[in-house]
């Protein structure tokens, strides 16, 4: 399945904004498709914006999956609000809270500047967890500015949406800012 998802992403033009709808079971397959196949093939730096689980947990999962993090950078919006004393990772920068949406944009801008010549794909994980901490109005504004800013830099945006937690408002928001929605289906082939 990761190869299939990656294939769909490869077909998207640069600067696209894509909504990735999935169930919890497809979560790691989707991450693998982006970070292990799509981004390396396209020689992109991946900026992984997490408000769902701490960056450290994702990095641990990537280590298990033997996915190198050399070109993956994390904007972790959840660790600090959890007040956890977890070890900081050199590829992760931290935003105090997922409510500080402007600071998330600033960290993304900072990492893009650091990436210099390489292209960038920004992964937003996930719209549902951001919606826990922010109202729809400010979240729509955030996504609209973020996506258009990234588009102007020819950077693609991939926004995760967990089907179980989708609301009508979230669906409308995603339709408004995204060029395409890819629904990650359960397949028997794996």
């Amino acid at each position: 399945m990761p190869a299939k998802i990656a294939q769909r992403l490869m077909e998207m033009p640069e600067g696209s904004a894509v909504a990735l709808r999935m169930g919890a079971e497809q979560y790691f397959d989707t991450i693998r498709a982006i970070l292990d196949i799509y981004a390396p093939k396209k020689e992109l730096d991946a900026l992984y914006l997490t408000s769902t689980i701490p960056a450290r947990s994702i990095i641990s999962a990537l280590e298990v999956l033997e996915i190198p993090v050399e070109h993956i950078w994390f904007v972790d919006c959840i660790s600090q609000i959890m007040m956890s004393a977890s070890e900081k990772h050199p590829h992760a920068i931290y935003v105090e809270s997922p409510t500080m949406l402007e600071n998330i944009m600033l960290k993304v801008e900072y990492l893009i500047r650091k990436a210099k010549d390489r292209g960038t794909v920004v992964v937003v994980d996930s719209i549902n967890s951001l919606a826990i901490h922010n109202n729809t109005k400010i979240l729509s504004e955030f996504l609209h500015i973020l996506v258009n800013n990234l588009r102007s830099k020819k950077a693609s945006t991939l926004i995760f949406s967990m089907e179980q937690y989708e609301t009508e408002e979230i669906r409308n928001m995603m339709n408004l800012v995204c060029d395409e929605t890819i629904t990650v289906e359960v397949t028997s082939s794996g």
Binding site: E96, S97, T99, M100, L101, E102, N103, M105, L106, K107, E109, Y110, R113, K114, N134, N135, K137, I138, L139, S140, E141, F142, I145, N149
Partner: protein, 285 residues
Amino acid sequence: MNVSTSSGCAAETASGHSYSPQAFRRPMPSKEREAPEERVERCITGIEGLDNILNGGIPRGNTILVTGAVGTGKTSMCLEFLVHGALDGDTGLFVSVTESSEKLLKNIIPYDFFEDRLVKEGRLHFIDIPVMYDRLGLDKPVFDYEEIHILTDAIVGLVREMRIRRLVVDSITSVSYRLKSEEIIREFVLRMGAALSAVGCTTLLVSEISPSHERYSTYGVEEAIADGIIVMGNLERRGDLLRTLQVVKMRGTQHSRTKYVLDLTTTGVLLVPLLKGGSIATGGA
């Protein structure tokens, strides 16, 4: 029935008043109107977001008040302005009033673009004002017109001698502590601003204000005289403290007046628009 009117003809109203259509026509943008904005020589700050806000940079020779509470990034932004200028060929001078330049350089953000050679090659200068006071024999606790003239002449003299194109005084508030009347502060800022503008030096005057302050400067005089005002503040929103920047005045150019959120990074000051969808509990400076 002919209802057409030719351009420029005058008509008469029922009340007998005559009018010309031109008198009611909105002035169209013309080359002459656009020209002054285009002709303005810009001092490109090198801070990408700020240059965008200012429509290309600060008009060269302007004296700008950079004002805000402590910890809002005033000094860092001013230093970045000087470093970018030095890299671009504009010699810069930082007049430090509140802390020694040695301490300042020690605590400076390790900018990715900073090069030691800028100081060694004389493109970036730092002067501590207490040292200047000593050399000029200004040892009075309160300055009068005479002392102010000596001080401004000395600063302007340095600017001329070292061919300074960008000057930062950090802070004008600390200098003004010794000036006991609004008239003397006015004289100081006006005299210095006029002389520096005449030599094409773009100046940033740092002003310290408390977060609850309703004015842009401690004495209320500096803001009236400056060509531009950049306000840096802290904005509290639902318990989060955001650093903000807003250009409220800039002579000689069109500019955005909206509020931006900023971050001080090793790549320099970064700015994004303040999101307006959320409720704002309290406003800072």
